[in-house]
Symmetry: C4
Subunit: 278 residues, 4 copies
């Protein structure tokens, strides 16, 4: 849709700004989102670099990074004010998920003046990256996410049974290992043992805590095999649900004009329930 | 079902108590299950906290946690007696899976008077959490679990072939590594080497035992790739079985009144076997 | 099938022995297989226990385990001779997969007289466990394995593309890490670096070798994400192939007597190609 | 196709060389590809062996490996010249993917004369292994890869949603752990913490960096469970897409000669849209 069509000349700067800032259909809107994406990535990079000891200790680097951080903060603050100005119901935006995230993206720099070290929270800007999904054909992505969410909702009870079983197993095996292994093997408390159980059943396996006794090793072995095999359950559930979703897609959404029957094949010409022409 | 309907006024307190304690359909039954769920979570938290050295060594904390533990035990004992009183065949309940778990939930506190340290077994109460599935639409969950169980039973032979192969591989590779690596690399006995093989094939990889010789590393590499790739088999099997189960669901359970044929499409109006109206 | 029916009285002991030893349909054959299964498990346990330093160093235990080992060897040798005696073409059995495994199950004990320490090879008896699949409804298992093999063969080209890509990636990244990280981080040679790449891409992650430089960590991160994500490919391929196999199962194997068309629905009464009665 | 048929006697050596070098249909072309495959594997093995300290330090071994390396380089250079000579548009080949890889396969040896140590780059020859897919029924493999690519493209938006979520989670949790854990636990900078987050969410778990504080362990546990569970999403997506691809395969590609309808069952004899004979 070209600009003049969508927003007539007398539409006011608010409508035009809204289209550029909140939509990604016009070239200007797309450019805005790409620039925003680059600014977010740049600001995350700056925060990351500043945390590296070799760079953070160097006075020149430190100065440049501070300048960059305040520039990014200024730009994000300007963007936030613009969004507030061109949106119809500002409070609704302020209290929305992205409104809160956009505000959190500005706060770290001023707060770090009061509490040194808190600038690391600036990486919360990474959440804003999710906003830039719009640049890559938003509508398409949203329908995909919807399909995924529907499959997850449909498969949720089976996945909940799976998660519940895993959690009960983690608590019981973790506590058993605390009794069996004791402190010398690193199982210093039940919470620590439960942490070990999570590390083991998810097959992460740091090795900072590891069983030493034969009985502990035997139980740990059973738990590893369980963790290795159990992931099969949610995978199978989601595959089956998504396959069902995929199967439904090509089905005709047309209803028979004579009898109202639905679920016709996508290329059906005659109703399979009453035989009348569709 | 409202209370008066289900249990007439002269039904006696046993029937009413049974409905509250064993069912989750009435508001009272639901409230009972939610309170029970919170009590179980609270008692598990108390046991966990007591095991943390910083908290267990503190006299004030210790006292409060002991009080909490005995309160939870008293409540669970009262619940156990109530269940015994309102159930028709008490012995059947006592010997059932949940009867045993409910008894085990009471024992740790009194036993810890005789054997200090045994209170850690109180985490076995976590198994009772499975009971509270009822609160979240039990019937629905049970049908899901049934569907899952059917898929697992249908896919079991293929999964057994997979597990058997993995176990034989673990024993043989574990023993071979004992011969190849020897004690200096941590492979001190065949059971230890088999434990290493389990840690490796499940991709946990603690690193407390790791091959040192070139041949050992080569065999370990092959085993890792096998473990990484083999999980594909049960996943595929369960996905296919669950997809079959999903596919069956929308099928009509109606049988043709003329010829008795089954398996009609969910919206079929005419029998596909004899052509008569359904 | 009862014994007298299958093998008439004058059938000779060979036929009867063959039925007991090689089949699992008669009660005697089943009992034989169960006893064999227990003997194999017992002999593996004996070899494992002997390798544990605390047990192997104890003279009494050692004596008993030696006696057990020679008893098992004697029984397996007797079984091997029996199999040789009652089979029609002994050489064919000797040279078959199971013939070789059965012989290897006897050799470790006599060989350990010449080369002390070689008794660990007795765990090769674990392969014999695969033989006892027969006890648990052999025919059923074999058909399942066939179905699995068909799915693997059908999906093999896709899985080969996947494995080839992973192997090329392992070799190239492994070598690159040798150049980047060098010896001080444990990457002492290209084969060692390739071993590290296998440990990383399969998500085992021992941690005995880990990158130290920023560039090495960045490359390792990319490789971990690749390994974490790539397993999706063979899983999806096998799921799809098995789902196809499952879908085929309920299809009618009947061909139309009039026109010879196949692929009718499992409950079809009329041919869908020519309309004649099936 | 026999040689004389494909390339008439007066076709010139170029055409014949092209068929041998670039195709794998004739016996000579197949033999050429197998020899090339062995040469590539041999040259990779030589580079690997040379990097092993025990072998690289031995003067005799070193000499032989240098000779082998230069022989392989000579053969690959000769092959490169041959390809250049017999291809119609040499520049197109030089700038193609395989043209660049073929050139990179020759360069390491001469470059190592100028910069000692750079011969490790010779393992880039591993990419050439992908070329030898041709030997194993190229056409078949390519169609499989196409099918896989189509499924990946179809499932890409869902997989992108998944990857984006994982990446945002890695950046935010990594930074949070830097603030929570600090330097003494190994979280020396945000990039290092992000590296730890990748190691953890992919379930690799080296253990060189591991959380020490209770809060850090709790967050790490949540992240492990997320990483363990999230892989379910792309697996399910690809399974469903591949299953759809598989389902499409048996469908008839014939269009009805009367009405042009498509999507008939593979054994259909009559059009399901107009009823005319196909």
């Amino acid at each position: 849709m070209t600009d003049p069509d969508a927003t007539p000349v007398n539409a006011g700067w608010r409508e035009r700004a809204h289209e550029v800032i909140f939509e990604a259909d016009t070239p200007a809107g797309k450019a805005f989102d790409v620039v925003l994406l680059l600014l977010i990535l740049g600001s995350i990079l700056a925060v990351m670099l500043e945390s590296v000891p070799e760079i953070g200790a160097n006075a020149t680097w430190r100065l440049w990074l501070r300048v960059a951080e305040w520039t990014f903060t200024g730009l994000f603050a300007f963007e936030y004010v613009l969004r507030l100005a061109c949106v119809r119901r500002p409070w609704r935006y302020v209290l929305s998920f992205y409104g809160v995230v956009d505000l959190l993206a500005i706060l770290p720099a001023p707060i770090s003046l009061l509490f040194p070290g808190s600038q690391s929270f600036a990486v919360i800007r990474a959440i804003r990256l999710l906003r830039t999904f719009r640049v890559f054909k938003l509508a398409h992505f949203l329908s995909e996410a919807t399909q995924l969410r529907r499959a997850l909702v449909a498969g949720w009870p089976k996945i909940a049974v799976f998660l519940m079983t895993v959690l009960v197993m983690i608590v019981i095996v973790g506590s058993a290992m605390y009794v069996i292994e004791g402190e010398e093997a690193g199982f210093t408390s039940i919470p620590t043992s439960v942490y070990w159980a999570v590390v083991t059943i998810t097959t992460v396996g740091y090795g900072d805590i590891a069983p030493q006794t034969p009985l502990g090793k035997a139980i740990a072995s059973l738990m590893m095999i369980a963790g290795y095999a159990l992931i099969v359950v949610p995978t199978g559930v989601l595959s089956a649900e998504l396959a069902r979703g995929v199967r439904k897609t090509p089905v005709n959404t047309q209803a028979c004009p004579s009898c109202g029957a639905e679920g016709h094949a996508s290329d059906a010409k005659f109703c399979h329930a009453c035989g009348d022409k569709l």
